[in-house]
């Protein structure tokens, strides 16, 4: 059964006097527990698709449904709350808050829940354990390597046990060794913890880690 369903999805932007159409009637589904890599050239709509699934952006028309909830119909307030419970998002440039420690960065999504401080602590330590950063909990982002920062970002994405993990070029700024570690971690999250993962990447080697690879070109699936 599809966890994520995009139906008749259209998305266009107005840039100055030009109207740019990214998607025009796209239909796409992602199965629960799948690990999908989205590939394609720049401007093909990969990141836009990720933003639409995460509810960060709204479709011009069509629907986005995640775990039975129509994301595209939600208001801003309920969308933010839905996102905090169902979406873990990982950026290419990590985007950890520089003024917070790894622990505090990972704790951020949990601040939006009703968990007690002790419960939040347990969750954060568990997430740090999964990504292998237990000994870096009190380090600030500037004190971590790129690979460690991305692992902390992944821990932040999974700490609230979201329905789906979305990654936008997660290995784009990493060296080969760190990238391999991240990909192995993602495979573990998918295989061991049955997380549904959608990963945008330019890197064919990174795409190989996913069970399914989709190619987008000018908003159209090509393979």
């Amino acid at each position: 059964m599809a966890l994520v369903a995009l139906h008749n999805l259209s998305k266009s932007f107005q840039r100055d006097s030009q109207r740019i159409t990214v998607f025009d009637g796209l239909d796409l589904e992602f199965a629960e527990g799948s690990f999908t890599a989205l590939m394609g050239p720049s401007g093909s709509g990969k990141s836009t698709l990720l933003n639409l699934v995460a509810g960060l952006d709204r479709p011009t028309s069509g629907t986005v449904t995640v775990a039975g909830a129509e994301v595209s119909a939600m208001g801003p307030g309920s969308l933010a709350q839905w996102r905090s419970r169902h979406v873990g998002f990982v950026f290419q440039s990590y985007n950890l808050l520089p003024v917070l420690t790894a622990y505090q960065n990972i704790e951020l999504p949990l601040l939006l829940t009703r968990l007690s401080k002790a419960e939040r602590h347990d969750h954060v330590m568990a997430a740090l354990g999964v990504v292998g950063l237990t000994d870096r909990a009190e380090h600030f982002p500037r004190q971590l390597s790129g690979g460690q920062e991305q692992r902390a970002a992944i821990a932040r994405a999974v700490v609230s046990d979201p329905t789906i993990i979305l990654l936008d070029e997660p290995t784009g700024q990493l060296d080969a060794k760190s990238a391999a570690e991240i990909l192995a971690l993602l495979q573990r999250l998918n295989g061991e913890f049955h997380k549904t993962i959608i990963m945008v990447t330019h890197d064919p080697h990174a795409a190989q880690a996913a069970g399914t690879v989709l190619h987008l070109d000018k908003g159209v699936l090509t393979a």
């Binding site: 307030g77 933010a80 996102r83 985007n95 003024v99 505090q104 939006l112």
Partner: protein, 381 residues
């Protein structure tokens, strides 16, 4: 409470900037409290004085003398219980900057008339009245110059030229804090011996048998001298003080207008700094929105930051003003006795801090709330 570490982390992101911004707000509100306190103290000064005492001054202007012969005639006016007089001496101690209020007075009647406002030990009073070159000094003035009882001090006359040496025989305390403790009073006879033609009352003070007699006494006194060479103008001491304070009217206006302009200039700089700080974090707003922070929550967090700086500055600035002036007995060389930051001024200062928090926090807070996560993330990338 659980978001406090996030707020604190953002506040301490640029420690120096946060400290300087807070200090700017503190300085602005310290200035505000100080300047406004000048105005409120001047206004309070108008309320000092007894309704049962009247001041008789020259109808021409306060700088003109009245004849000493008026004393007996005033004492004979129905309703008048006692009369005294004094004149402004205007001496300085050692250096022109050591300027304070000093009066040549008809000593015995002066102390008698002000006995309810001044506390002077009986033995000191007796000694003072016995010695022609003696003086009594306010406690705060004694402390300021480190003088001691029995010490000889020499004042340089600015109106009555020459050096004038007095022996301190009494130290008075003001019963009402609004009554100046920064003054020196001596026997007018000291000047009379050197300048007999110059020493005359600058003003008379009358004690009434009853405050309700004031209008009748004023009318009687002024009509008595109406056709003389030295006509009088009589009013209650409170009215006299209020009239005196109106001469500060322009000063009050300047204090209010220039002071407020300076305060707002500093507050604008502080507000700009706070807005800059928020603008720098647009990308992080996008990250927090992606994590699930609602627009309302982000709005609140930015407002809490702005409020912390503004109110922190207010506590520092207003607290410093409150702590500095009253305990140190600041009185602007005796011209602003009882100088203090009133609760009203503190409330206005806090109001300004709240306005600053709103002015500096609303724009970035609304911006953070309004911006979409995608736009915010694109801001840096």
């Amino acid at each position: 409470m659980k978001f406090l570490p996030l707020v604190w982390a953002n506040l301490t992101r640029h420690k120096r900037r946060t400290v300087l911004t807070t200090l700017s707000v503190a300085l602005a509100l310290f200035l505000f409290a100080s300047l406004r306190s000048v105005v409120t103290t001047l206004r309070a000064g108008a309320d000092v004085g007894s309704e049962s005492r009247m001041i008789v001054q020259s109808a021409k202007a306060i700088v003109f003398f009245l004849p000493r012969s008026y004393k007996e005639r005033l004492a004979a006016v129905p309703g008048v219980a006692a009369v005294t007089w004094a004149d402004w001496f205007g001496g300085v101690y050692q250096d022109p900057k050591n300027f304070f209020a000093s009066f040549a007075a008809d000593a015995e009647s002066y102390l008698e008339l002000y006995k309810t406002d001044l506390e002077l030990p009986a033995d000191q009073k007796a000694t003072f009245l016995r010695e022609r070159t003696a003086c009594v000094v306010g406690k705060r003035l004694m402390d300021k110059f480190g003088w001691r009882l029995g010490q000889d001090i020499t004042l340089k006359g600015t109106i009555f030229q020459g050096d004038w040496t007095f022996t301190i025989r009494g130290v008075y305390r003001a019963v009402d804090p609004s009554f100046s403790e920064d003054a020196l009073v001596f026997h007018y006879e000291v000047i009379y011996e050197r300048y007999p033609q110059w020493v005359n009352p600058g003003w008379y003070v009358l004690r009434l048998k009853e405050p309700s007699l004031a209008p009748r006494v004023a009318a009687a006194v002024d009509s008595m001298f109406k056709n003389s060479a030295d006509p009088t103008k009589t009013g209650t001491e409170r009215a006299f003080n209020a009239n005196f304070m109106t001469m500060w009217g322009n000063v009050s206006f300047l204090m209010n207008s220039i002071g407020m302009a300076v305060v707002f200039a500093i507050l604008l700089v502080a507000a700009n700094s706070m807005m800059l700080s928020a603008r720098e974090r647009t990308n992080e707003v996008g990250v927090l929105k992606t994590v699930g922070f609602t627009d309302r929550l982000l709005f609140g967090l930015v407002m809490v930051e702005a409020s912390t700086i503004a109110l922190g500055g207010a506590v520092l600035g207003l607290g410093a003003a409150k702590a500095l002036y009253r305990p140190t007995g600041f009185s602007a060389m005796g011209f602003l006795p009882g100088f203090d930051v009133t609760n009203g001024t503190l409330a206005m200062g806090l109001g300004l801090a709240v306005l600053l928090a709103l002015a500096s926090g609303l724009v970035p807070a609304a911006g953070a709330a309004r911006l979409s996560a995608v736009q915010a993330l694109r801001h840096v990338e």
